[in-house]
Amino acid sequence: MTIVLNGEPRALQDGTTVADLLRALEVGERGVAVAVDAEVVPRGAWESFVVGDGAHVEVVHAVQGG
């Protein structure tokens, strides 16, 4: 299946969770947040939340900002 990750299409195996995705991205958990289809996925739900086909996923972290 395919999702849109941070604006880019990305192939994903069925059943992939947010946590799987973050591990695949080699993103530490600190200072990171995830939204799927314009809804926040709470940290506590990362292991259980399965990303669906065609989902729009945003993975963000802290950057310098005014």
Binding site: N6, G7, L25, E26, V27, G28, R30, G31, V32, A33, V34, A35, A38, V40, P42, R43, E58, V59, V60, H61, A62, V63, Q64, G65, G66
Partner: protein, 263 residues
Amino acid sequence: MRIGDRDFGSRLILGTGGFPRLETLAAAVRESGTEMVTVALRRIDPGARGSLVDVLEDCGVAVLPNTAGCYTARDAVLTARLAREAFATDWVKLEVIGDERTLLPDAPELLVAAEELVADGFTVLPYTTDDPVLARRLEDAGCAAVMPLGSPIGSGHGINNPYNLRLIVEQASVPVILDAGVGTASDAALAMELGCDAVLCASAISRAQDPVAMARAIRLAVAAGLLARGAGRIARRTYAQASTPEEGTPEFVHPSDPARPLA
């Protein structure tokens, strides 16, 4: 100064945007004496692992996430909720921008977003225009502070409309923080003299030729302005008032001078 449930000793909030290097940012944070700095949320960049959070943690300052780049209440609210997840804080510098060129706030959208976030339990510090009515409505909506601009972000024009800023300060019962526009130290001192409780400053420091020196300059200016306001400045007078007494001024009479009557 108390914002929400927190007391601050420093009256300077630092924006972390625009610093060329993290080392410079860290040095400026320390030199500024600030206790809280803003950060933004952006898509992760697998290439560069940013240690920004670590650096700020080392500095021992609180993090105030902003919603920079949001043009609608919906995006701003969602961004604030992401920030809450990312930084485990319910504080947010709320920005809802209405124009790309000037980055000025969109008043009606800003108010809607503020109401939603307050209802959702956030401690909301809105970046707003210098409109006193909007400032009061934001306060009425439950914002923990109001952060009017002096002039557009990064413009360095200082305070374009001191009159409005004065009105905002007069009526506010939450802290008023000058946000955006400061270009140099005297701007920050003036803001405090006008009655602001604090100054939020990014570009003026981060983009100065010597950010660390400017951090110190603005820190001193904020302290100077706060002290001066408390010290009760002299009134402006139309004419002069001698700082040396006239009484007792000697009169030098030379024998060749025309005779003068004795005093």
